[in-house]
């Protein structure tokens, strides 16, 4: 191609008005060896374009395009609008090696979601679920509502080694039950029992009291005796046996705490005199009362007569 033609194309190129074919022509020209002196300065440009253009289009172009798409999907992801496929894309992207610089901060989000969550779900999830089940079974167990199967489940759980922290205190309990349930009667148990039963009775020697604390039962005989004694004591205590005159402070005689004996006359003669005096007073007063009453009646009678009532 002629120099002037090429020059014209270059100018067009830099004005941004070159068509693709023209650009292709320029590339061809500069890829060749016959380049005009004045145009050599542009060689690198058009060569680079050719080389890199192809590379960029195939390598970085895809990456850049990918990056743009990822941006878009991530935006949707954080808005909660991503489909499962979208999320898969993101996972794939972040699990790969070609992660853009600007995306590297987000890597944990998507690697966590893919890598770590699933193992947790598979190992701990099952255990946690199991623990919850055991909690419920234990509750029923202590209320006495478990079936034999439930109890079997509990036993197996406690005999295993995957026991939750908050269940560990019960472990010994179920181990004990397990142990006990395994106890079996010896084959010669019957023989032994018979032999023991046929032994002559041996009465143990009365041991030191400190060794044993026995519960002493109150036999009916003891009760009777105790009752008797209690009544006797009570009776004597409650009563005032010796003398009804000397009233001491006994419960039954609580009303009066008077010791009247102080006020007794020394001899019967005095007593007689005093009694007579007392009687005299009483009778006199009574008489007075009666007399007044009679007076009153007489007056009424007189009044009635006067009036004419009989």
């Amino acid at each position: 191609m002629e120099f002037n033609q090429i020059k014209g194309l270059v100018e067009k190129y830099f004005e941004g008005e070159s068509s693709i074919q023209e650009e292709e022509q320029l590339r061809l020209y500069f890829a060749g060896s016959d380049i005009h002196k004045e145009l050599t300065i542009y060689t690198s440009i058009f060569n680079t374009f050719k080389a890199d253009a192809a590379v960029k289009l195939s390598g970085n172009f895809n990456t850049n395009l990918q990056s743009i798409i990822i941006d878009d999907v991530m935006g949707s992801f954080f808005e909660g609008e991503t489909s499962v496929e979208d999320e898969q894309i993101l996972k794939g992207y972040f699990n790969g090696k070609e992660i853009a610089e600007k995306h590297k901060n987000y890597k944990p989000y998507f690697t966590y979601t893919t890598q770590e969550a699933i193992p947790k779900l598979s190992s701990n999830f099952e255990s946690n679920f199991q623990f919850k089940l055991v909690d419920s079974l234990l509750e029923d167990y202590f209320e006495g509502n478990t079936s034999l199967e439930d109890e079997k489940t509990l036993n197996e759980y406690f005999l295993g080694n995957k026991i939750a922290e908050h269940h560990k205190s019960y472990k010994s309990l179920f181990e004990f039950y397990d142990f006990e349930s395994q106890l079996v009667l010896n084959s010669d148990f019957n023989k032994k029992l018979e032999a023991r039963l046929n032994e002559p009775k041996v009465i143990p020697i009365n041991r030191n009291k400190k060794e044993e604390t026995k519960v002493r039962r109150m036999t009916p005989a003891i009760w009777r005796a105790a009752a008797m004694i209690a009544l006797a004591i009570g009776g004597f205590w409650l009563l005032d046996l010796p003398n009804s005159n000397s009233v001491k402070t006994t419960p039954l005689a609580a009303a009066s705490t008077i010791d009247w004996s102080k006020y007794e006359p020394k001899d019967p003669e005095t007593a007689l005199a005093e009694t007579k005096a007392a009687l005299a007073l009483v009778s006199r007063k009574m008489k007075e009362g009666e007399e007044q009453t009679l007076k009153g009646f007489r007056k009424i009678k007189a009044a009635n007569k006067a009036v004419g009532i009989n």
Partner: protein, 170 residues
């Protein structure tokens, strides 16, 4: 063993119920008067009553008869603040289980009250309250025949009054 126990029980209960607290009004309600130094207190016990009956006396049969029926006699008397004690006594006795028999108010300022405690037809206790120049509380226990008692007045009158004076001066 059992019969002894039963006997003991019966014994205890019998004693308990037979020898209970003093049932007379004075012991019940006026024990504080008895302790009070202001009061002159006289007491005739059932034993003493028995002894009286054996005393050779010139008084009439009626009196002795009446005495026989008595089991006890209690007298309280004081010259200090008779009105106050009288009022207190009245209050206590009217609210007690004793029945008011008679009340006499004379124009010379003397007040007399009779109270009785009955058990069916029998009068078991007679209480006399006098308020005048002195305060007198008298309680007679026994099988009291009120009619007989009032009849005694004549026989005992003069002598009785004298003796009452003697009593106070002791």
């Amino acid at each position: 063993m059992k019969s002894i126990k039963n006997l003991l029980v019966l014994f205890a209960f019998a004693m308990a119920f037979s020898m209970q607290a003093q049932t007379d009004a004075v012991s019940k309600h006026f024990s504080d008067y008895v302790e009070d130094e202001k009061f002159t207190v006289v007491y005739i016990s059932p034993k003493m009553m028995d002894m009286i009956a054996n005393v050779d006396d010139t008084t009439d049969k009626d009196v002795m008869e009446a005495l026989k029926d008595l089991s006890g006699l209690r007298i309280l008397t004081t010259e200090q603040t008779p009105t106050k004690f009288y009022k207190e006594a009245i209050t206590k006795l009217t609210s007690s289980d004793l029945e008011s028999l008679m009340t006499i108010k004379s124009n010379d300022g003397e007040n007399v009250n009779f109270f009785v405690r009955s058990n069916g037809d029998k009068t078991e206790e007679l209480v006399l309250l006098v308020e005048g120049e002195e305060f007198v509380m008298l309680s007679m226990e026994g099988n009291i025949n009120l009619k007989k008692v009032s009849k005694l007045a004549k026989a005992l009158d003069i002598k009785g009054a004298e003796h009452l004076e003697e009593l106070k001066n002791q």
